[in-house]
Symmetry: C2
Subunit: 442 residues, 2 copies
Amino acid sequence: MGSMTSIDHASTPNASASLAQAPEPADALVAARATAARAASRELAALRRQDKDAALLAIGDALVAQQERVLAANAQDLARGEANGTSASMLDRLRLSPERIEGLRSALAELAALPDPIGELVRGQTLPNGLRLRQVRVPLGVVGVIYEARPNVTVDIAGIALKSGNAVLLRGGSAAQDTNHVLVEIIRDALEASGLPRYAVQTVDDGGRPAAQAMMRAVGLIDLLVPRGGHSLIQEVVRNSRVPVVQTGEGNVHLYLHADAPLQRSVDIALNAKVQRPSVCNAAETLLIHADAAETSRAVLQALTAAGVRLHADERAAALVPELSLEPATEEDWATEYGDLQMAVHVVDSLPEALEHIRSYSTGHTEAIITDSIASQQEFIRGVDSAAVMINASTRFTDGGEFGLGAEVGISTQKMHARGPMGLSELTTTQWIVEGDGHVRS
Amino acid sequence: MGSMTSIDHASTPNASASLAQAPEPADALVAARATAARAASRELAALRRQDKDAALLAIGDALVAQQERVLAANAQDLARGEANGTSASMLDRLRLSPERIEGLRSALAELAALPDPIGELVRGQTLPNGLRLRQVRVPLGVVGVIYEARPNVTVDIAGIALKSGNAVLLRGGSAAQDTNHVLVEIIRDALEASGLPRYAVQTVDDGGRPAAQAMMRAVGLIDLLVPRGGHSLIQEVVRNSRVPVVQTGEGNVHLYLHADAPLQRSVDIALNAKVQRPSVCNAAETLLIHADAAETSRAVLQALTAAGVRLHADERAAALVPELSLEPATEEDWATEYGDLQMAVHVVDSLPEALEHIRSYSTGHTEAIITDSIASQQEFIRGVDSAAVMINASTRFTDGGEFGLGAEVGISTQKMHARGPMGLSELTTTQWIVEGDGHVRS
């Protein structure tokens, strides 16, 4: 993914400053905007659902009504990208169109239709002493997002944050800076026209790379930082941030064909998991095959090869289909998230051996098994320490939309706070409210 | 609290090693024990509740049956503490007795009586495409705890971890090292006698301070690190750990008397919140008084003074009770968690002014209001960004036991993962399980 996968250096002369030496101005910029966002977040926390939903619809309408302005800015970003020799696939991620803007409006409308996570009663009871106790969902406050060159993320995240009562501090990729600038302006104008605080959506794009670094230091100013993008962006934020981070989107995803895996089902699921959209994090990267599933395995390997997948196979897997002359897998292949039409293939003699391989190499995203055995399914579920386990289904289903969560901030591969698709609830915390009548503790 | 509040230096010659320079052996020690704990945690995750509960009861019985051994080790720790000039209050925290050991058994029995958090269905539905989706509670895996000189924490934490299916890596204060050594041995023997893996409970006390530092670096080996102790221990862990931490137990707790606060209720709650147990984190530290509640305020300030509380008052508060000649509060008082019979007092002209003060100085633990106004209560709840809000009740109720959560790991003052009293659920994460019939994504 080249330079797009790390926090880019384009916008400032101080790109080489390390975290420790980063200049004061970026910290001051982030502090000022985060403080304004904090003030706005207090207003958002008290909003009624109907007012948030009306604002979401107003943002969608404004984006469509002002699409010429958006597309003009996007054309500037695209022209700059072309001049810089940006790849066609990156340009496609950067590109907006009337259809894509209409898609943004639809997504905002879907968000408006979702229940409000704020105020949800998580638990509650009247205690033996008569205290009335309840745990209620409240917004986190200020959510920071550092992302790359997909300008639709700007609108998605602003919408999810608004619905969950949070203010956002955005830092997008500089390749999309003109588009993002116009999108943020339209969003803020629509917020204001809806009677909501325009400072609820903040960008620090003008602060460049030092501002991204300052976000990672903004303890107490930003409640949660989410990196959205490629491996190196995520790792940079996870390693350097002192603000709490949720790690999302790294998927070294495994598909295991058990000894009893039916042939056609295995072919269908393997093709779907690998080929349907190979660039996304829930696409499968390693195929594990039980040695007793030779006929099924042959059919799967042939189908994958026919679909253009470059297979990296261990010796026993290669021997199943000698006519394909598969290239040998290396240790590195087991740990690789290809993100394209490549896949590693490993033969195991047992389900425990498959589990051991998964535990050694998985990033904790999604693992799938194909089997008709209840006992094997249970053993697989218990043995896998990942956010999602698929039984007789494609790994591609690990997705907030598919799970019915509506919007998605990303897919958490960590265990703390959120695990798997992060929807609206995952952008909240809780508050305990205790009502007494003069109660004291004895 | 002196040297007991930071990770103590007693056990090794390498006490001055910084995190970056810490010796290899500590990392190897932590890695070996965490790896053994990880293996044990996989067995624990699959246990039935009845087997975990039986083991909890067996541990309690073993502690009582072998109490002479425990008390002998404890006497060694106490003798060493006395020789070192340890304070009487610290020695009291360190001391076990037959009654306290019986208390540990009771706590384990109460834990056994609580529902099993593992396997709890958080959410679930059959999706439109027929996929059967469920989100289920699973253990975190390996929980690390760094704590100080209260040996009862060793048993409490081991019990909570076992019930929630987690293995633990313990690092206790060296002042309690002999007691902890015997407690861990008894716990492990009882686990083994119950057919559970003895390596589920691990100590790295023999690794001294470098082992505590190595725990903070053990990314991927330890899933969650909880510091339990004073301010400097907590800050040291929060600042230095690269393993996810939940910050617990810092309580700059506020009690606000609104303009309409009734006199007797205010006196009762203020005394309870400040005096009943001043050393704990849910004791109140700052009293905020509405200027219109002069008569009530006078009664509260007189009662607190009569109870031996040293008040640090702003000018207007001091002027309410000139006969008491209260000492003037400084800026530092507003931010101080005294942990003893001292309290800061500040007069405000409005509820918003009280909220502004709380937001400026609170550690996010607990804030209380005394009022009979529904509107003021709602404004207070919305304006406070802390784990718990008390309405007409003492701040002392913020406690896992009081909340009916049973056991408590600590009281989280952060927003991510857990907020407020951390019970069994807070030591879990979730896993999404998706069952299909050959489903592929279109």
